[in-house]
């Protein structure tokens, strides 16, 4: 019976995969450099690998947010998060599970009048705001770097196409790995605190659901990513995908943290970050590097508004679900 409640996590994982394929391979699919099915299969496999092998650093931050006493409670949180994501997908808005997850956990804590760990929340929210800036800066650097390289090294157009296609797949796989590492705790987190659930089964189950979700990805979101914000060329798409992977690595890799600490430099907090924000940041970075003439500001405003609205929305859903169930006499 306890494992039956894992269905909520699986549904959330499926919803995550459906929405987040666009964050790692959207630009590559949108520019028609990578076939949808190839991208979906690779993303599914590498998100799962990232979640299994490298997600421990960011898990801690999520576990500090809420202590869910039962599998049923985790199930309700998952449903609230998933509903918020599906709502965003309906409007073609790329939204992150991290924001929905934090919103739902805060909603849970507020309902039960449990003390919210505002220190962690502040750290996470701050990261939401500066991760797109980091992504934009990396994208601008990447854009000028690639442009300078292409001016120095003449690569024939057709060979360049083969190289860019291969690099898009490699960088997409790299991004998918760190997406799994960074975001898995936000999906499976509520279940990981439940005592009678095996964490390995939770992570593998959710990982497989993500892979299935990626195969059934939302094409409208991919369209928003590829041309809604800024029309990308294949080379720009490569910079975007690579930037996403690097930014996710900055907020997930303890190796980089150790290196920065060793060099007496400020470190990045190891918290789950919204990949949609990273993606938007890198696309806007490319647009700014090119003179921002082609940026569709209205799409950008819609995406930024979702950053504020989605956590509130998922928190409200969680609160309402709990209110209805508790009123109905349910025991969590």
């Amino acid at each position: 019976m306890t494992y039956l409640f894992l269905l909520g996590g699986l549904f959330l994982g499926w919803s995550f995969g459906r929405n987040n394929l666009s964050n790692v391979f959207g630009a590559a699919i949108g520019t028609r450099m990578v076939v949808f099915r190839t991208a979906a299969v690779l993303a599914g496999i590498f998100i799962l690998l990232g979640a299994l092998l490298s997600s421990t650093e960011t898990t801690g931050a999520v576990l500090k947010l809420a202590d869910i006493p039962s599998a049923f409670g985790a199930f309700l949180i998952s449903v609230a998060i998933a509903l918020a994501i599906l709502f965003a997908g309906r409007f073609g808005i790329p939204v992150s599970i991290v924001q929905s997850s934090v919103g739902a956990l805060v909603g849970w804590n507020l309902f039960f009048d449990v003390h919210n760990n505002w220190g962690v929340i502040k750290e996470m929210v701050a990261a939401w705001f500066y991760c797109p800036i980091v992504a934009a800066l990396l994208a601008i650097l990447g854009f000028y770097g690639v442009r300078a390289l292409l001016k120095k090294v003449k690569i024939p157009l057709l060979y360049r196409d083969s190289v860019v296609r291969t690099l898009l797949i490699i960088s997409g796989v790299y991004s998918a790995y760190f997406l799994g590492a960074n975001n898995m705790p936000a999906i499976a987190g509520p279940y990981l605190t439940v005592a009678n659930l095996n964490p390995f089964v939770v992570v593998v189950g959710v990982g497989l659901a993500i892979a299935l979700g990626a195969l059934m990805a939302d094409k409208r979101v991919i369209e928003t990513v590829s041309s809604g914000l800024y029309p990308l060329s294949p080379m720009e798409a490569l910079v975007v995908v690579l930037t996403c992977g690097l930014t996710l690595y900055c907020f997930s890799g303890s190796g980089l943290e150790a290196l920065l600490t060793y060099c007496h430099l400020p470190t990045f907090p190891l918290v789950p970050i919204p990949t949609s924000s990273v993606l938007v940041g890198s696309i806007v970075g490319i647009g700014l590097a090119k003179g921002h003439a082609g940026i569709h500001w209205s799409s950008l405003v819609k995406v930024i508004a979702s950053w504020v609205l989605i956590p509130i929305f998922s928190g409200l859903i969680c609160w309402m679900i709990l209110a209805i169930l508790i009123e109905g006499g349910a025991i969590l």
């Binding site: 520019t31 028609r32 076939v35 292409l150 003449k154 157009l157 057709l158 060979y159 196409d161």
Partner: protein
Amino acid sequence: MGKKISFFKRAQVLDVKFKTFLMNITEAAVVFCQATEVFLKKQANPDFMKLKKKIQSLESENDQLRREIEYALYRQMILPGMRSDILDLMEACDHVINQYEHVVLMWSVEKVKVPGDLFKDISKLSQVTQNCVGILVTGVKAFFDGQVNVEEEVQGCYFAEHSVDELAMDVKENIFKKKMPLARQLQLREFVATLEKISDLAEDAADKLKIISVKHAL
């Protein structure tokens, strides 16, 4: 090494086709210059017909190549973001070789008799046209070879086209200064106009090259 070859195999095959397509245009321009010399001196004699056949075969080969490249670009999803622009550019280049074929066909059918004092000017017109087409092909080739800025080649093509226009105008003035029947004057004017159109088409292709290089510059 084997793996390296197979990694770029599709690109290599298509690159050879692109290069052959462009080389055929250059060759057609050279053959056309020879055909002009022969036609001016000996009209549509067997030597001219041989050169005409050569131009026709180059044009037909380019049509085939263009179709193969078009099919490969779409079937193998190569250069997805710019393939329509590339095909537009190729079509514009194809118009140039089509015009070469059209001119030699017209000469072989109409057998226009060109007055001897115009030989030098028409021969020069043919050479400057060849130069214009040659610069265009160099620019297109440079673009395919990854050169970001093709402005120099585009400007060279514009300059050569302008020279052809000026030369053609001089020849037309000379034609209408001559005492000959109006019908012949008009026929000679058309003779020069069809030749002049080659560089106009090369200029159109250069326009497309300029746009494509700006549009797809990173």
